[in-house]
């Protein structure tokens, strides 16, 4: 038997696994998750991740509200979502078991730190009896490893605090053996991460390797094997949604040949976009951490007036503060990208949890008639392309554009097939010609777009601002007919952008019994649920909206094609109501969830089955 066959023979082949690391927020859960995801990527497996952490930076230990999680779904087939239920739960303490047990598959594996199931930590977690002793876990394959004790023994030369911080590495070691991953990927990651801190590197590697070896001595330790994924040929990297957003904006600036200016105020879960952009002074990016959200957007408007690709990034409460300035951007018809990484609201809400509840705000939240195009990103990778496209539309159509992302996709990551810059479309802003007389509100007939005259260009001096201006000439006026004309011009300009959108597509049969509608970051779950039911023989199709305002030109035809239509979204029906407003001849059913959590494929399937069978 050659080496490979031997390996396969004592390992069970699997195609699709969901793992979740759970523990205290100081346990290094996110780091363990990132190392594991990085290795998966190197193994040519497709993956999606979802970090799930508390709003508190360091919550009290062993409490259920302080539980931090990192979920990874990997497969040798295409991965649509970070997964509903876990095949493997890696559990650092009783509190995290308590919170996550309900989502472990029946028969699933639970690896836990048995040395941490002390009477005290059981009590702070709210357990009245020890789950390791009361048979409550008998439906699962529980692997008890006294990690906290072992760690102290093997790192006895270190102080207790430093040694304890390597628990995550020990767990990783166990998992690398479970899935037959080469430790070298993790070793490289650790070496890069801690660079010159040799003592920390040594302790981490020590625990990592100890975990790997230890698993060899566990009786009936489950071992798996995955064949490689058939990804399209090309160069790949893994990337987080927020980073992809930042890169998409930078790519657009390069493509347009413009200075990128970012005026933002830190806010969860959008801050990573600002900090990523702040790193890239090497590409000339100018980030400005403003004194507040209002200065974030108004500085961006000033930068846009001065000729930059201007961006402001935020999350719901921040968007609320920017509302007045959105109107100014509409009125001055300047290019501007507003990125809203939505989180659970209202008010401060649940900052680290995800929702799709800012759609009304993006769509209607302004005084006056003030239409703004809206694009929604559909996955962590799509954040790159959606940000690029938002910038392209803003620049070419002289309008603010709102890019709706979500905490769920902004913080999640996926495998990114690296594009070449030459493959991305050109961006051609409508610069005013200094050789012609300039009229600030003269529009081209096809797109209703005015020209952009950049300060510093001789002969194009002009004044714009928040006051209503006369058509073509741009003088301050309160003329009634002129105002109406300008309102309609601005409306028409945004409406015509629909001609640039690709037509809305439908996946599945053309006239299904049930047409499922979704938008934004729920694409993966909805696609998964529809696929599952269609393989079971149901007549079900899916149409996913990326362009929210204006809606694609064929939207009505698509929606009419289903015998029944259901709109699924993580709010109380905001998109459904926008569709109802526009297409009153169609009956829309709704599936809504506002729990700060993504859909599960299972709940969607149930909702669809109810309709299909009624």
């Amino acid at each position: 038997m050659n080496e490979e066959n031997k390996q396969m023979s004592d390992r069970k082949q699997v195609d699709d696994i969901v793992i979740k690391f759970v523990g205290d927020s100081g346990d290094g859960i996110q780091l363990a998750g990132n190392i594991f995801a990085d290795t998966l990527a190197h193994m040519n497996l497709d993956l999606a991740t979802f970090p799930d952490f508390p709003a508190e930076v360091r919550a009290p230990r062993n409490t259920t509200f302080g539980v931090s999680g990192f979920q990874i779904h990997f497969s040798n087939k295409k991965v649509l979502t970070p997964g509903d239920e876990y095949d493997v739960l890696v559990c650092f303490n009783p509190a995290s078991l308590k919170v996550n047990l309900k989502n472990v598959k029946e028969g699933g594996i639970i690896i836990l730190d048995s040395a941490n199931f002390t009477p005290r930590s059981l009590q702070t977690a709210g357990y009245t009896s020890n789950p390791l002793e009361d048979n409550s876990l008998e439906k699962y394959n529980v692997i008890k490893v006294p990690v906290s004790e072992i760690i102290l023994n093997i790192n006895s030369d270190l102080d207790k605090r430093t040694a304890e911080k390597t628990k995550n590495m020990f767990f990783l070691g166990l998992l690398y053996n479970m899935f037959d991953f080469d430790l070298k990927h993790a070793i490289n990651y650790i070496n890069n991460k801690f660079k010159s801190k040799s003592q920390i590197i040594e302790a981490n590697l020590n625990s990592l390797e100890a975990g790997y070896r230890y698993s060899e001595n566990i009786e009936n330790f489950p071992k798996f094997y995955l064949s490689k994924c058939e990804l399209l040929p090309g160069k790949y990297r893994d990337i987080q949604g927020n980073i992809a957003t930042a890169w998409g904006l930078m790519a657009a600036a390069e493509k347009a040949g413009l200075q990128l200016f970012v005026g933002s105020y830190p806010i969860t879960p959008a801050t990573d976009i600002l900090s990523e952009l702040a790193k890239h002074r090497d590409l000339g990016v100018k980030t400005f951490q403003a004194e507040d959200e209002i200065a974030g957007i108004t500085s961006a408007i000033g930068a846009s007036f001065a000729g930059a690709l201007a961006v402001t990034t935020t999350s719901g409460p921040g968007l609320s503060l920017k509302v007045e300035a959105l109107g100014l951007a509409v009125m001055t018809e300047l290019p501007l990208v507003i990125v809203d990484v939505q989180r659970a609201g209202p008010s401060t809400g649940m900052p680290t949890k995800s929702e799709q509840t800012d759609l009304y705000l993006a769509m209607f939240g302004r005084n006056g008639e003030a239409p703004i195009p809206i694009i929604s990103a559909t996955s962590p990778i799509d954040c790159f392309y959606a940000a690029f496209e938002a910038a392209k539309i803003a620049l070419e159509h002289m309008t603010p554009v709102i890019l709706l992302s979500e905490g769920y996709i902004g913080l999640g990551s996926g495998i990114f097939r690296i594009p070449k810059m030459t493959e991305l479309p050109k961006i051609n802003p409508p610069f005013a010609d200094p050789n012609n007389k300039y009229y600030p509100y003269q529009r081209d007939e096809e797109w209703y777009v005015r020209k952009w005259a950049i300060p510093g260009t001789p002969g194009l001096q002009h004044r714009i601002g928040g006051l209503e201006k006369s058509d073509i000439y741009g003088a301050v006026t309160t003329d009634p007919k002129n105002h109406e004309k300008m309102v309609i011009n601005r409306e028409e300009k945004v409406k015509r952008i629909a001609r640039k959108w690709p037509l809305q597509r439908i996946t599945g049969p053309e006239n299904p019994d049930l047409l499922v509608v979704s938008w934004g970051g729920t694409k993966g779950q909805v696609e998964g649920a529809v696929q599952n039911l269609s393989t079971k023989g149901y007549s079900i199709s899916h149409t996913h909206f990326r362009y929210i305002n204006p809606l694609p030109l064929n939207t009505h035809d698509i929606l009419k094609s289903g015998k029944k239509v259901i709109v699924c979204e993580l709010n109380r029906g905001q998109f459904a109501n926008i569709l109802k407003m526009n297409y009153q001849d169609i009956t829309f059913y709704q599936y809504n969830k506002v729990q700060g959590q993504p859909f599960t494929i299972k709940e969607l399937e149930n909702a669809f089955l109810n309709l299909l069978n009624s």
């Binding site: 090309g234 005026g263 200065a295 408007i301 001096q461 002009h462």
Partner: protein, 344 residues
Amino acid sequence: MAKSINNTIPKSDIPLTPKDFESDQIIRWCPGCGDHMIVNSLKKVFAEIGYRKENYVVISGIGCSSRLPYYVNTYGFHGIHGRANAIATGAKIANPKLSIWVATGDGDSLAIGGNHFIHVVRRNLDMNIILFNNQIYGLTKGQYSPTSPLGTKTTTSPYGTIEHPFNTGELVLGAQGTFFARSLDILVDLTTDILFEAAKHDGTSIVEVFQNCVIFNDGAYSEITNKEKRDDNVLIVKHGEPMIFGKNNNKGLILNKFNLEVVTIGENGVTEDDILVHDAKNPSPFIHLMLAKMHHPWVFGVIRAVPQPTYDDLMEEQISMVKAKSNIKCMDDLLNSGDTWEVK
């Protein structure tokens, strides 16, 4: 006056005159309003500084003062209430080749835009802010402002205000301002000189102009502008010159322990040599603060002008420094940087 100034901003090849900056808009300020005098000073200064016409940008918020961009033929942006300084910040960072001028008022910059005001001062962007202080909300027809003296009766304070006013200079110095000057609308030449000094200053220049609102707050500065009292109530300071004022040019300031004191030359053995010489470049703000807060006399002129690195220069320096060290020269480099792998 020395021709200027900022080497980043391109100079005009031909000499300019105030006429070059005349706009075709009808000025809509009330007749007799102090704002007319300010805009005239500004046009003179633009011509004198000599940057290319197209490199001037005038930005404003909301209020009477904020109509100013329409009345000068440059690039102009009329923003929303309170945000002029933030808009200007973005414009300057994005394009340092622009000479940025903000027209704002006591409501715009000290009330609704107070936060942006203190932060722009702190950051020391190279731009010039003209703050028209009329101690009233004019455009909304006469409500008290953050600079209205305690007890001011207005439509929203019919029994008199019960809040203490801001002193603009004190606020600027508290926010680590590097340039603060004060003028009076009727002192057109002084305003022109100060605006020129502001343009020369590397950093955020705050020029407060006491401006009379003839309709809603007429006479707010009569104590100062009153012809008979004016000379005894106004001290115009110049860097390097003794602080002497008065009808007979015989009053002056001395430092008595920790306070400024008005003395008369020739009385009690005081000679001109005893009078304090104004040092606008002194990094310590203490005497500047006392000057800004004085009421008898009121102090005008450039009170503080201390050069300090500007935000926009530091931004450009940081970009060149990081660029020089980084291997990432374009987006393709970035996309392919770090951990990547090939699928064949």
